[in-house]
Symmetry: C3
Subunit: 206 residues, 3 copies
């Protein structure tokens, strides 16, 4: 799993997730340290929960670069905030790329732990989406994941493609690339065409 492609995935995903966390933290009257923590939790939360569930040491104990990357993300936000925050579309793109990449890392790590494929897909989904859930809980909001985004479902679709490719003996790098692209495309298409799942009506609406 340790190759340049995976390392690149890791850095880009961490940076984009941290930026997305810091962006949501602004306007909540957090101080710089609080914003850093929200960025960090968004970036490493999913992977940490995955590692706890897999009974592995949290990945950031073995490699602290996520702490530095989150610091760079905070610095970039402080220096170029008006630009960073107005690039809403670009950020959505980054966030989606991060989602695809993290999902694949999660699946890959779970396969190394010899888990059945459906558990691997769940672990990939957790890696990609739980950081954002923790971010929203800390910022005292109902998680975006639960409300209207095709988010976790994109992860699950990507996971399905991952195992299809494995089954067809596609090479590991190509499998990872294809599965990440599926996650990214499903989410981008859902955003572009405003595809949502139906809302669960409340009892008063019945």
């Amino acid at each position: 799993m340790e190759n340049y492609f995976t390392t690149f995935i890791d850095i880009v995903g961490t940076f984009t997730f941290a930026i997305s966390g810091i962006r949501l933290a602004s306007g909540k009257h957090l101080d710089w340290f609080g914003a850093y923590i929200i960025g960090l939790v968004t970036a490493v939360g999913g992977g940490t929960i995955r590692d706890i569930l897999l009974d592995l040491p949290p990945f950031w104990m073995l490699d602290g670069k996520c702490f530095a990357i989150t610091g760079v993300a905070l610095l970039a936000t402080l220096l170029f905030k008006d630009k960073v925050f107005r690039w809403a579309n670009t950020l959505m793109l980054f966030d989606t790329i991060g989602l695809g990449l993290f999902t694949i890392i999660g699946i890959s790590k779970s396969m190394d732990a010899q888990l059945p494929f459906w558990v691997c897909i769940i672990m990939g989904t957790i890696t990609g989406s739980v950081g954002g859930v923790l971010r929203d809980v800390l910022l005292n909001e109902v998680p975006l994941l639960l409300r209207k985004d095709i988010y976790a479902i994109a992860c699950i679709a990507g996971g399905g493609v991952y195992f299809l490719c494995i089954h067809l003996n596609v090479s590991k790098s190509l499998t990872e690339l294809l599965a990440a692209l599926v996650v990214i495309c499903v989410r981008l298409i859902a955003i572009k065409f405003q595809i949502h799942l139906p809302v669960l009506k409340s009892i008063k609406d019945v």
Copy 2:
């Protein structure tokens, strides 16, 4: 522990907890996926935290039926919602049965891990009640558990009876049944007669 009684416990408890989660999720503008996740977290959250604390693999990694049961619960809610949600009393009963059953599973699993009896009772209480706490945190509410329900205290009472029965050499199945009944009865009596613990007054009330 693996017998028909325990399997039945497991399925009924999962279904009732999932329904209770989905019910609270409605009216919060969640989509169907969000409602599914809330149902799932309510049903498996307590057991997952217990397994993490006991350093065991989360139970749903070994047996994915909770995912299917939550799906059935969501489907039942979508199809018969006006009925399901108006049966408030029936649901409270189901929820209480789930509480009793999950508490016993938690105690039983902790005993298999050779823990002292007071830790087993805490693990039973966590199994029964933490799913609801996670549900409330995700839905951005102060957990009901902390506010006014005789909930965890019913689990603790059932745990006490469990160890009394073990001490008296009652058979395992009968012990589990009796302890579950105590949890269920304590909670039902508390609801029926509106028995609450006193509220901690704020400084302004002093």
Copy 3:
């Protein structure tokens, strides 16, 4: 690590953290049990998350005195609440002492697990501050830690001094005392002179 000094640290820290949790719980319409749980989570939450991350059994499974100490804290609050709550400054002092002591316990336990020093400092910070974060999440507030307090930064400073002392071959007890004092002094100075980190401005303020 098992000596009188550490045991004393543990008891005082647990009591002060429990009091700080119960104090914040009042005015939130929690019942006595809910207030007890908030006190307990504040006191043991950080150490529990640390132990899960270190893959150790949660410390309270091996030694249940935190449950009794939290009970005493609740009793003291119920009996002397008008006094306890009006001693706001004294409580801030206690809370700060608890912070210093818990941070040192967390660092010490991580060193026993042979982790690199920067991970030990993070674990110390988690031990000292995550209990308060869980308390705020359960009480449905944005964690104070993220908003304006020099809290985690005091832990990090104390952690730095800890490793400086180790490097200079200072005895373990003196190292722990010095590091705890640094945590306590940094926080007290920050409170006294109202030193805050800058707030991250929202996009609307740009």
